[in-house]
Structure formats: structure tokens, C-alpha cells
Symmetry: C2
Subunit: 91 residues, 2 copies
């Protein structure tokens, strides 16, 4: 993961709705309909946010019947967390 990848993930997390979605998903898998209940946005807007989070590979999805279940992509999140963790103030 390089600087551009990290910037892309930061962009995905630069919206507070998406940041909260990721926080919710770290607790476990949720379907779009469950996520939607937590926000004051419409279903298409949530769908847009899920796409943004998917495109930078922060989350993955699984279809079950009519429901789409989303979960954290642990590999990407861990790599991102580690790179941000290296931003240490050397004073």
C-alpha cells in the first residue's frame, strides 16, 4: 500500500457517514437495510457510500436472498491502520 492508496482510503473516510459505517462494521457484518436505520439518508445515498467504501477495498459484500451483507476487509483496514500508525511526531 502506497501513499496514493492511503490517500484514497482517507478520502473514503472523509465523509462522517462512511466513517460511522466502517465503525459499525468493525463490530460485525450488517446488511444495507440494517445500516440504513442508523442514518438520516435515503437508500440510494447509502448505496453510493457503500460503493465508495467497496472501491477502495475497505469493505466486502455477500448476497443472501434479497439482502446484501457488508463486512470489513480486514486486510485493507489493518494495512491502513498500520500506515497511519507510522505517522509519528518526532520532536
Amino acid at each position: 500500500m502506497n501513499t496514493i492508496d492511503v490517500a484514497l482510503i482517507c478520502k473514503a473516510l472523509s465523509d462522517s457517514n462512511r466513517l460511522q459505517i466502517l465503525q459499525l462494521l468493525t463490530e460485525g457484518e450488517l446488511c444495507a437495510c440494517e445500516l440504513l436505520e442508523h442514518f438520516k439518508i435515503t437508500q440510494p445515498t447509502l448505496s453510493h457510500h457503500m460503493r465508495v467504501l467497496s472501491e477502495c477495498e475497505l469493505i466486502q459484500n455477500r448476497k443472501d436472498g434479497t439482502k446484501m451483507f457488508y463486512s470489513v476487509n480486514c486486510e485493507t483496514l489493518t494495512a491502513f491502520r498500520n500506515l497511519i500508525g507510522e505517522l509519528v511526531c518526532k520532536k
Copy 2:
């Protein structure tokens, strides 16, 4: 620091130039003219980026003669790093 603050910092770091600026500044204080040498952008564009980084309090500045020296705001960076560090995949 709440979710909105974290999202604001992520937005500041969603540009790869700004992310690299922060990385450079973690190594120590630099003036704008020194920072400018690292990028293929004009001076006004750099000035704009420094303002964005300043507005979310990721960096601070100090004037010395005609030069403006920038450095990391350790308190903000540490708080941000810790909050991102809490985004752990619970599988």
C-alpha cells in the same frame, strides 16, 4: 475528538500531496520553500494545502523573517492516530 473531527482530518489527508507534506513534517520543521521543492505544484497551490492542513490543526506555523516554518501539531496527530488505531477488525 469526535467522528466529525476524524472525518475532517481524513479529508485533509485525502489529497496525496497533503499526506506527503505531513509525512515530511513528521521528520521535523520545514519552511514552505523547502516543502515546495518536493512537489510539482505551484507556490499558491502549496499555500492552499498548508491552509487546509492548518485548519484541521494537523500542523502549526512559525514565522521567521520572510519564511514560514511549518511543523506537526503532535497533539492532534496523536489523537487522530489513536482513533484510527481503534478501528480494529473483530472477526
